[in-house]
């Protein structure tokens, strides 16, 4: 069941796009489907249309501020007579969303020659950090890289075992100590091992914690510091994993984790449910952190790079 990997390269752009759409079909079924239905057969821009539009945006978890921003910009354009019919409203929305989603990548240091690229994965409990690491490891392995997983979630019962199973699945080394040990010590040792084993990518799994727990945030900062001491520049990237089912709190999570640790990219998981993923738009707009990957299932190849054009395309077409 696992490891039966679809070859992405083969289908080229179109194949990838098709699968993205498939993965997002639930999102489509609601947000896009409803938007399509909304605009279908309407000749005039009425208040009713705008109200319905507002409902669609709100129920997609896009959030109060962003929804109001989108509606205002449409309303504004309508009153300037820049938008004359519903089809133009749709295009304008698409464009506006795209502009929100177009976030420049955040600069991060690159590893020195012969040193591994280190990624630290963080997020609240149960969002899919460990699973994302498994899937990402699979992705990097298929790019021909040597991957190492670091079990720095020493808190949750059997979290280490969970990562070990993923390591076996994808064929990556897992560095672990016994449960309850100091996570930054695990990371320190792992980075030594990574250098000597000539690993290309190191993925650090951390314990889930609510962003409001100060002491746990400090633990993450310590991991960060220790990694940097061992390998200057490490961790080169910090991925924040967010669950697409989460509502407006995702923004608070992103804000607080970002302040504490400097997030370089977001992984948005569980887009295979019926959650609309609208939160992506709000987060990009409000925080300026790019979305790196999306998770669309629990299998090995259910992690896809996020591409704003394709995302909006998949949402609208």
């Amino acid at each position: 069941m696992f490891g039966k990997r679809k070859k992405e390269e083969e289908g080229g752009e179109k194949g990838l796009f098709e699968r993205l759409r498939q993965g997002l079909s639930k999102t489509r079924g609601s947000l896009a489907g409803r938007l399509d239905r909304l605009f279908l057969g309407r000749k005039e821009i009425t208040q009713e249309l705008l109200d319905d539009l507002e409902e669609i945006l709100f129920t997609s978890d896009i959030g109060v501020a962003t929804t109001q921003g989108l509606i205002d910009s449409v309303q504004d354009a309508v009153s300037r007579k820049a938008l004359r019919d519903p089809a133009m409203v749709k295009d304008a929305l698409k464009e506006q969303m795209l502009s929100y989603l177009h976030v420049p990548p955040i600069d991060h240091p690159l590893p020195a020659a012969g040193e591994p690229h280190v990624v630290m994965v963080i997020g609240v409990n149960g969002v899919g950090k460990t699973t994302t690491i498994g899937k990402a490891a699979h992705r990097f392995k298929s790019e021909g890289k040597k991957v190492m997983l670091v079990a720095a979630d020493t808190f949750r019962a059997a979290a280490v075992e969970q990562l070990v199973i993923w390591g076996e699945r994808v064929g990556a080394d897992v560095i672990r100590q016994k449960s309850g040990s100091d996570p930054s010590a695990v990371v320190f040792d792992a980075l030594s091992a990574a250098v000597s084993r000539k690993v290309d990518m190191v993925l650090i799994d951390t314990a889930g914690r609510l962003h409001t727990q100060k002491n746990l945030m400090e633990e993450l900062q310590k991991i960060r510091r220790v990694a940097g001491k061992k390998l200057p520049g490490a961790p080169h990237e910090v991925w924040l994993v967010l669950d697409a089912t989460t509502g407006q709190n995702a923004i608070s999570q992103a804000q607080i984790f970002n302040e504490a640790l400097g997030v370089t990219g977001i992984v948005l998981t569980k887009l295979d449910g019926t959650a609309k993923g609208g939160i992506v738009i709000g987060i990009s707009k409000q925080l300026g952190i790019p979305i790196k990957f999306i998770g669309i299932g629990e299998k090995l190849d259910d992690l896809r790079p996020f591409n704003a054009e394709q995302f909006v395309q998949a949402v609208f077409e």
């Binding site: 978890d61 149960g126 899919g128 808190f155 019962a157 059997a158 914690r209 962003h211 509502g247 449910g273």
Partner: protein
């Protein structure tokens, strides 16, 4: 973000002006902000829509209470409506019939089922139950291991199995083994699944079929967004859940999902998870949730204080009048209105020593219709009559009855009751029993 919205709401509330009553016009802007605050708290769009209409309906025309501003009065109504929707009272587990009893936990991936299973086992263990943890998540790597660890941490037996078996077989076998393990309560930890996953939902139905759990509890993340209603509805339709446990409540989520889930399933929220520690499980109190969703705890406690102060002032006024024996029909009317809020006069007096024999006051427990009648009668009196009921002779009574659309008997009954009350109250006031403020404060 939340802060700014709450601030905005507070600002708008200050602008709700006008004396006396709330009107459609003066609450318009405030209601808009209330709506946005609820949406920001992740209350489902449709639920918000209904709620705001209910609030508008109730608010328009309502009198503004004593020391409250009109804006505060509106928030009071919003809070009351939220509380009503949330369910007024707390509901526990219904574990009846012959043990072993069976609890089944279901939910999306990552909602916190496994941890909650252990928490429940601990919670119920402390109430003298003998729990048995059953790991039925055969999909997530190391999920069974996780429950085993948690079980050994809290000294609760865990059904031994591996992930090669079917979940329904695991559960059923565990049920038959429970007795031998000395257990009287099973907690089934099922795998997380998407509510749209037909195959996996069918698996839950099979477990239900075979084990006939006494409680099927949906474990939902307090941070869930608009999708909470779809998730809850699907699980409820498939399994007819008996309640909900909200996890991760210790964060800064406003928890609108709680309200939405309650509104669409009508199933009670029974517990909340407030931390990663196994002890961090608490019974759920709906009224507290209501104020959290609104995010206006400060305003609400102000309102509470104002209300208490108001009541106390009224009580003090009454007490003074009783002492001076100037209690008149106007006061009587105020008093009757207050009783609705404070409980019956009988209850109030019952709190005083030596009041046991005041059975006669029972007839004063006003129901809404009676109160309207009494109000009408008193309103048809002249000011003089209200000050001094003794001047009300037969012809005045006829006039009052006509004016209030009641009968002379009604007027007579009221006057008799009033006279009796006044006499009794005066007597107790003199004895110093009647210190109302002491039991209101």
């Amino acid at each position: 973000m939340f802060e700014s919205l709450t601030e905005k709401l507070s600002d708008v509330l200050k602008k709700v002006t006008g004396r006396g009553r709330l009107s459609e016009a003066n609450i318009q802007d405030a209601l808009k902000q209330v709506r946005l605050a609820l949406l920001e708290a992740d209350v489902n769009y449709k639920v918000v829509k209904r709620l705001v209409e209910d609030i508008r309906h109730r608010a328009v025309g309502q009198e503004v209470m004593g020391s409250l501003t009109p804006g505060q009065q509106l928030i009071k109504i919003v809070n009351e409506e939220l509380t009503r929707l949330m369910g007024e009272t707390r509901e526990g587990l219904h574990l009846i019939g012959r043990p072993p009893h069976c609890l089944m936990l279901v939910g999306l991936q990552g909602s916190g089922k496994t941890t909650t299973a252990a928490k429940l086992a601990r919670f119920l263990g402390r109430q003298g139950r003998h729990p048995y943890l059953v790991p039925a998540d055969v999909y997530r790597p190391a999920a069974i291991d996780q429950l085993k660890r948690l079980g050994s941490q809290i000294g609760v037996p865990v059904y031994p199995t591996d992930s090669d078996r079917r979940p329904e077989d695991i559960c059923l076998d565990a049920l038959s083994r429970a007795g031998r393990e000395g257990a009287d309560l099973l907690v089934l930890d099922t795998a997380g699944r998407l509510h749209i996953d037909v195959e996996l939902m069918a698996e839950l139905e099979r477990i239900k079929e075979k084990c006939r759990p006494h409680e099927i509890l949906l474990v939902a993340d307090a941070m869930t967004g608009q999708d909470a209603v779809n998730v809850a509805k699907s699980f409820d339709e498939a399994l007819d859940i008996t309640g909900v446990i909200l996890s991760k409540m210790e964060g800064d989520a406003r928890g609108g999902a709680a309200l939405s889930i309650k509104a669409v399933t009508h199933k009670p929220i029974k517990f909340i998870g407030v931390g990663e520690k196994i002890d961090a499980l608490e019974p759920f109190y709906p009224d507290r949730m209501a104020s959290q969703i609104l995010g206006m705890g400060d305003v609400l406690s102000l309102i509470e204080k104002a209300q208490a102060e108001f009541d106390q002032q009224e009580a003090l006024k009454l007490e003074r009048k009783l002492r001076k024996n100037t209690f008149d029909l106007d006061d009587f009317l105020v008093q009757l209105r207050q009783m609705k809020k404070l409980g019956s006069l009988e209850q109030i007096l019952g709190m005083l020593p030596g009041m046991g024999q005041l059975k006669k006051l029972k007839q004063f427990k006003p129901d809404e219709r009676e109160l309207i009648k009494v109000e009408a009668v008193i309103n048809s009196m002249t000011r003089q009559e209200r000050r001094n009921y003794k001047i009300i002779n037969a012809s005045r009574k006829r006039r009052i009855a006509r004016g209030s659309g009641t009968s002379v008997q009604d007027v007579n009954r009221l006057l008799k009751n009033f006279a009796q009350t006044k006499k009794m109250m005066a007597r107790f006031a003199k004895k110093g029993y009647f210190n109302m403020s002491s039991f209101l404060g």
